[in-house]
Amino acid sequence: MALDNSTIHQTLADQFATAVSDFQQIHDILTFEIDSNAISEVMLFLRDDKVMRFNFLTTLCGMHFPDAAEERQFAVVYHMHNWIDNVRIRIKCFLPASNPEIDTVSDLFASANWQERETYDFFGIIFKGHPQLKRILNMDEMVSFPMRKEFPLEDGGRTDKDDRFFGRTIDNC
């Protein structure tokens, strides 16, 4: 029998009570939130449970919401896939701006290793317990986290390029 969304919802709610919340179907994927302290526990359950069988971590990425409340400014979004029943889920973990820290899942899925490094590199989200949390795509000397919304796309100090000549102002670009 194929795994349906209500089973996933019910099982997780029974198992983890308040740590999981906000279940909703967005297009073709069931999306829900997990309390950031419970991520490794829930992922281990999702991977190893005989009914859930989410054997594959498709992708994980960071998000930044500078306008949200302080404790929800960062998020890590995980996509998992059950290859046996062919079901995908999307898991969101919100993190506070002052201390964006979450447990690593690289011990559960080897593929998370570099993806967590990438998320750290671009958002400054700290993955606790990660074996090698250092920058991966940007240079080691970099001090900022470029995918945060406050980081400008272009260097504001450039003198070789005057935006006025291109019809651009700070309001329209």
């Binding site: 967005i26 297009h27 073709d28 994927i29 999306t31 054997n55 594959f56 971590l57 498709t58 992708t59 990425c61 998000m63 979004v77 996509h79 290859w83 062919n86 995908r88 999307r90 899925f109 080897a110 593929s111 290793n113 570099w114 993806q115 990438e118 671009f122 074996p131 090698q132 949390l133 250092k134 991966i136 795509l137 940007n138 240079m139 080691d140 470029p146 995918m147 980081f151 796309l153 670009c173």
Partner: protein, 411 residues
């Protein structure tokens, strides 16, 4: 501080210091890349070697990182395709189509059957050109240059077809929201038919040249193997996973663009080594050719794009003579198109595996967040585990059979 956080050369220097042999010989560090002809792309591997044997290694990537995810947050939706071109530049049309399909899913646009079939044709052409490069370059890295030069002219022929469809060759920027920018010309179909006629015997010959070749088999069998369990844990998808014996293919698991209408096989290997990866890709080319033939035979009549004036640029003649067309043209070009607040994840079977687009919109003219699931980036981290204990020349063969494309790796 963990040892792994140190630059690899410092870490290895300490190991070399500790492990001096009695006869005075010692381990050495080899810097493979970033611009080494055998890596076929800009990435560096710092290897700790015992003579010719690899003891450990660490990959350093990011040499051609171009911040695509950041740029995508600052561009209107139709300006994101050129970014996708430059990821896996060996099969750009798959990336282009994957992006349009993601957007169509977010906007709820139904693409006409004809456009879907045309997309399938162009995506399979892209897969063929991708596999031509990977397999023939694997031949080069094991010492057979002839096959490479021989089949490469057919990649050129495929590029001529792209040129006929969209005007570009390598970075195609093909398609529009809802379909294609124009109907395929008769010449495009003519070139396609010539390719379908001429290419199979050439590919068969190339296969015969390598597949049962003693030297090639000795150089590739049991080289860089990976088990199915490790491959899944490492996030392998596509031909590299199928070589390890797992029949996971997005075209079958979650058919998009009418793939369910076609009859094709998913080739799988057994041991996940370089030879199996070669064989899987070889067979996939045959399957792609068969899909293209089926799509051409069943190609329905109809429109080549969806009727979505909000997103699809009107013909230029209409813009000059028709008020509504002018308004739509202006709004699309200025990026003032209605976009719902939503989030979608759409995977396609790229040349190297599951190419996914995770798009989050906030109703504005740009993406709030666009994350690319780049198969190369995810599976390349297994490289060191795969080559540990192997010879240096085997590492080169493993690397080219993984088909790591630097553009996709670094985004």
């Amino acid at each position: 501080m963990s040892d792994l956080l140190l630059p690899p050369e410092l870490r290895y220097a300490a190991i070399i210091e500790k492990r001096k042999n009695e006869d005075g010989s010692e381990l050495s560090i080899l810097n493979l890349g970033p611009t080494h002809p055998a890596t076929h792309g800009i990435f560096q591997n710092i290897l700790l070697m015992d003579g010719e044997r690899i003891i450990d290694g660490e990959g350093t990537v990011g040499y051609i990182h171009r911040a695509f995810e950041k740029i995508a947050e600052n561009r209107p939706f139709y300006q994101i395709t050129p970014l996708t071109d430059r990821m896996n530049y060996c099969s750009s049309p798959i990336n282009n189509m994957g992006w349009w399909m993601t957007l169509e899913k977010a906007l709820g646009i139904e693409v006409p059957k004809r456009a879907q079939y045309l997309r399938v044709i162009v995506m399979e052409l892209a897969r063929i050109s991708d596999h031509i490069i990977c397999n023939s370059v694997l031949g080069v890295d094991t010492g057979a240059l002839t096959g490479f030069l021989y089949v490469f002219q057919y990649r050129e022929k495929i590029y001529e077809i792209y040129e006929e469809i969209c005007g570009a060759r390598l970075t195609t920027n093909m398609g529009r929201i809802g379909g294609f920018e124009r109907e395929w010309s008769p010449l495009a179909f003519e070139k396609l038919n010539i390719l379908l006629e001429e290419f199979p015997p050439i590919w068969r010959e190339f296969e015969n040249l390598l597949a049962r070749n003693r030297i090639f088999m000795d150089r590739t069998i049991n080289v860089g193997p990976i088990s199915a369990e490790r491959a899944i844990s490492y996030g392998f998808t596509g031909p590299n996973l199928r070589a390890a014996g797992v029949d996971y293919d997005i075209r079958v698991m979650q058919p998009y663009s009418s793939y369910e209408d076609f009859d094709f096989e998913i080739p799988v290997g057994k041991s996940g080594d370089t030879y199996d990866r070669f064989c899987v890709r070889n067979e996939e080319v045959w399957q792609s050719l068969s899909i293209i033939k089926q799509a051409l035979a069943k190609l329905p009549e109809g429109a080549y794009h969806a009727d979505v004036p909000d997103y699809y640029l009107p013909p230029k003649d209409e813009v000059y003579h028709n008020m509504e067309a002018l308004i739509y043209h202006f709004k699309i070009v200025m990026g003032e198109v209605p976009v719902p607040v939503t989030e979608v994840y759409h995977p396609v079977e790229g040349g190297n595996g599951e190419l996914g687009f995770y798009l989050v919109t906030d109703g504005s003219r740009t993406a709030y967040r666009l994350h690319f699931r780049r198969p190369c980036f995810i599976y390349y981290q297994a490289f060191n585990e795969m080559v540990r204990g192997q010879m240096l020349s085997d590492a080169i063969a493993t690397l080219s059979s993984l088909n790591v494309i630097a553009g996709e790796l670094d985004a």
